[in-house]
């Protein structure tokens, strides 16, 4: 039995003609079909390949196409040169078209005489359609890439640009994408900026992870948000990256302007808040001043109306004192009445002091000396109650400009008050100190002290029973007193606070944790 390689050529030819999906034909020198294969017969709509013998392309194709083929075959036969891989559009008589890839050659007999042509055609319509679709897609993509305002680029693993759009080329200072092709950032950007860009590229290649929306400024005064995505070949090896950058210079400037105006707004707001607080303080002071003017007029009127009857009672008492009475009690009754007149008169007197116009006579004063004077003035009150005085006066206290008589009155009032609450004796401590204003502390929360300014602090501490917490806020209010009727007018601490207010200072009373109360007076030591 012969081996397959020994089979006759006829068998191979027959197999090929029967089974090949390509169209195969043989023609004589007049371009008449000598033989066609089964696939071409099917294509022509014939039941059997033999039906084509003796016919020409004019029997199956449009006259124009048939004429082209006829001419091609004439040329092959005249020149002996084959036509290889010619792509042509075939048009059937029924109007159907198809793209084919054709190769044709001269056909010679065994002696080398030209006896016709033969050819083979492959229907590539599907491939041609796919190629057209791909081409359209590529063109669309290119149009998009070239026309978007964002910068699009691709690089190989050496950092060379393999693709750029127009916007990116122009950003890099070139006219066309082709000029940028093959260059690296080091050819196009300042060295420092190129280093940064390259470092990002390397990081993407090494990590195989995309870099998203990195804000960078590769060119002075211009800002980009850049994303870079690694690209891989079919085996997963890195081949480069694609990137897209959006210019955000305007947004960045707007953001900076916004931040600046936000900061300015914040500052204005703070200034407004301060101004508002100042206005409120001034408003309160004005209201207080108006109230005090009214109280002043009221006090003067009351004083006049009350002092006159008191004067009559007093004079009546003087007259009666010069008389002799059988009843021995009468002189003591007259004394009582005299005491009451004196008490009423002193209440009126303090009311007048409280409401009198406040004119200040400020001079530089040694406050420690003022305190010692005040202690001298109240020594009677202190001695009567066996109160021990402890002075903790700061050395080298600077002279402070204030109304000495008025502040002395403040000190006398506070010291007297402290002595009065220690009926069974105790310790009275007077302390002076200075301090720098660093911020708003508890003691100076309501004041207008300037930050950085110097404060004078006077503290008067007693060991008495203290003040009930609920009443602490009222101690400076007019007519508030904890002492029995007849022992205080309730105006002493109010006058005291008014004087301290006039000096722009603060006064506060607190209970001490160890017992007793502490009065703190804070004055501006830098006042001029």
């Amino acid at each position: 039995m012969p081996s397959p390689t020994q089979a006759p050529d006829r068998l191979f030819l027959h197999a090929m003609l029967e089974s090949s999906p390509d169209h195969i034909y043989f023609k004589d020198t007049e371009s008449r079909f000598l033989r066609i294969n089964r696939a071409l017969a099917r294509y022509f709509g014939l039941n059997d390949p033999s039906e084509a013998i003796g016919k020409t392309d004019f029997d199956f194709h449009s006259p124009e196409k048939a004429a082209v083929r006829f001419q091609d075959e004439r040329s092959i036969m005249e020149t002996g040169t084959p036509i290889i891989d010619k792509i042509e559009l075939e048009a059937h008589r029924d109007g159907k078209t198809a793209w084919v890839l054709t190769s044709k050659s001269p056909l010679c007999d065994e002696q080398g005489n030209l006896i016709g042509t033969f050819g083979i055609s492959r229907d590539i319509t599907l491939l041609k359609e796919m190629e057209d679709a791909l081409g359209k897609e590529r063109n669309l993509l290119r149009a998009v890439v070239d026309n978007v305002p964002d910068f699009i680029f691709a690089k190989d693993t050496h950092g060379r640009y393999t693709l750029n759009n127009l916007a990116h080329a122009r950003f890099l200072g070139k006219e066309t994408p082709e000029e940028v092709f093959g260059m690296t950032p080091f050819d196009l950007l300042p060295p420092a900026a190129a280093e940064l860009v390259h470092a990002d590229d390397v990081s993407v290649w090494k990590s195989h992870a995309p870099l998203l929306n990195k804000i960078e400024s590769p060119v002075p005064e211009r800002w980009l948000a850049t994303s870079k995505i690694p690209i891989f070949d079919t085996k997963g090896a890195i081949t480069g990256l694609v990137g897209i950058s959006r210019e955000i210079t305007e947004q960045k400037r707007a953001q900076e302007a916004l931040e600046k105006s936000n900061a300015e707004l914040q500052q204005s707001r703070e200034e407004l808040v301060l101004a508002l607080e100042e206005l409120r303080t001034v408003q309160l002071q004005l209201i207080e001043a108006e109230k005090m003017k009214l109280v002043g007029r009221l006090a003067a009127g009351v004083a006049h109306e009350v002092k006159n009857p008191l004067a009559i009672i007093r004079m009546g008492l003087e007259y009666l004192k010069s008389q002799t009475f059988g009843d021995k009690i009468i002189p003591s009754v007259l004394e009582e009445i005299g005491g009451a007149v004196q008490r009423a008169d002193s209440v009126i007197g303090e009311l007048l002091d409280f409401s009198a116009p406040k004119k200040m006579n400020k001079v530089p004063v040694d406050v420690n000396r003022l305190i010692r004077n005040a202690l001298m003035l109240v020594r009677g009150e202190i001695a009567a109650r066996k109160v021990v005085v402890e002075e903790e006066l700061a050395l080298n206290l600077p002279p402070v400009r204030l109304d000495a008589m008025k502040i002395e009155q403040v000190l006398v009032n506070v010291l007297t008050n402290a002595a009065h609450v220690m009926e069974e004796g105790g310790k009275l401590t007077v302390r002076t100190s200075t301090r720098q204003v660093t911020g708003i502390g508890a003691n100076i929360s309501q004041s207008n002290f300037r930050p950085g300014g110097r404060l004078l602090i006077i503290e008067v501490l007693d060991t008495g029973p203290g003040v009930p917490e609920a009443l602490l806020g009222k101690v400076f209010e007019p007519f508030f007193t904890t002492q029995p009727t007849g022992k205080g007018t309730g105006l002493g601490l109010t006058v005291t606070k008014t004087i301290v207010d006039l000096h722009g200072g603060t006064i506060e009373m607190k209970n001490r944790p160890e017992g007793g109360a502490c009065v703190t007076i804070i004055l501006d030591a830098d006042t001029d």
């Binding site: 003067a300 004083a303 006049h304 009350v306 002092k307 006159n308 008191l310 004067a311 009559i312 009672i313 007093r314 004079m315 009546g316 003087e318 007259y319 004192k321 010069s322 007149v341 008169d345 002193s346 009126i348 007197g349 303090e350 007048l352 002091d353 009198a356």
Partner: protein
């Protein structure tokens, strides 16, 4: 006996003052309750000292004192204001109101006599 004129719209006050001062036996006391009549009364009485209220209806103590001072016949008479509108603290010794010494109401007999002695011509 020294003559003292008291000018004050408070009739009760002038009456008791007159009684009290006269009781000392050293003074002859005259009352005037109308500021407008103070000058006429002063001309009539020719006092050695005048005690003058300040706040009075129509003509107050200041105007009345000024008119008396302008009169050459009365100009040498010392005038002391007696007033209810200043506090005791302000009525310090040597204190003046409108150039005149003053006493603050209510006033004790001792204060009054001390003041009279101080200002009466010797």
């Amino acid at each position: 006996m020294k003559k003292i004129l008291i000018v004050d719209d408070e009739g009760g006050f002038t009456r008791l003052m007159k009684l009290t001062l006269q009781k000392t036996g050293e003074y002859e006391v005259f009352e005037e309750n109308n500021g407008a009549c103070a000058w006429e009364t002063a001309r009539r009485v020719r006092p050695d000292l005048i005690l003058m209220d300040i706040v009075m209806p129509n003509v107050d103590g200041g105007d009345a004192a000024a008119r008396i001072q302008k009169d050459p016949d009365l100009a040498g008479i010392p005038i002391v204001f007696l007033t209810a509108i200043v506090s005791k603290k302000e009525a310090v010794p040597g204190g003046l109101i409108g150039g005149f010494p003053f006493l603050s109401k209510p006033v004790s007999l001792d204060e009054l006599i001390a003041c009279i002695h101080q200002h009466l011509p010797h």
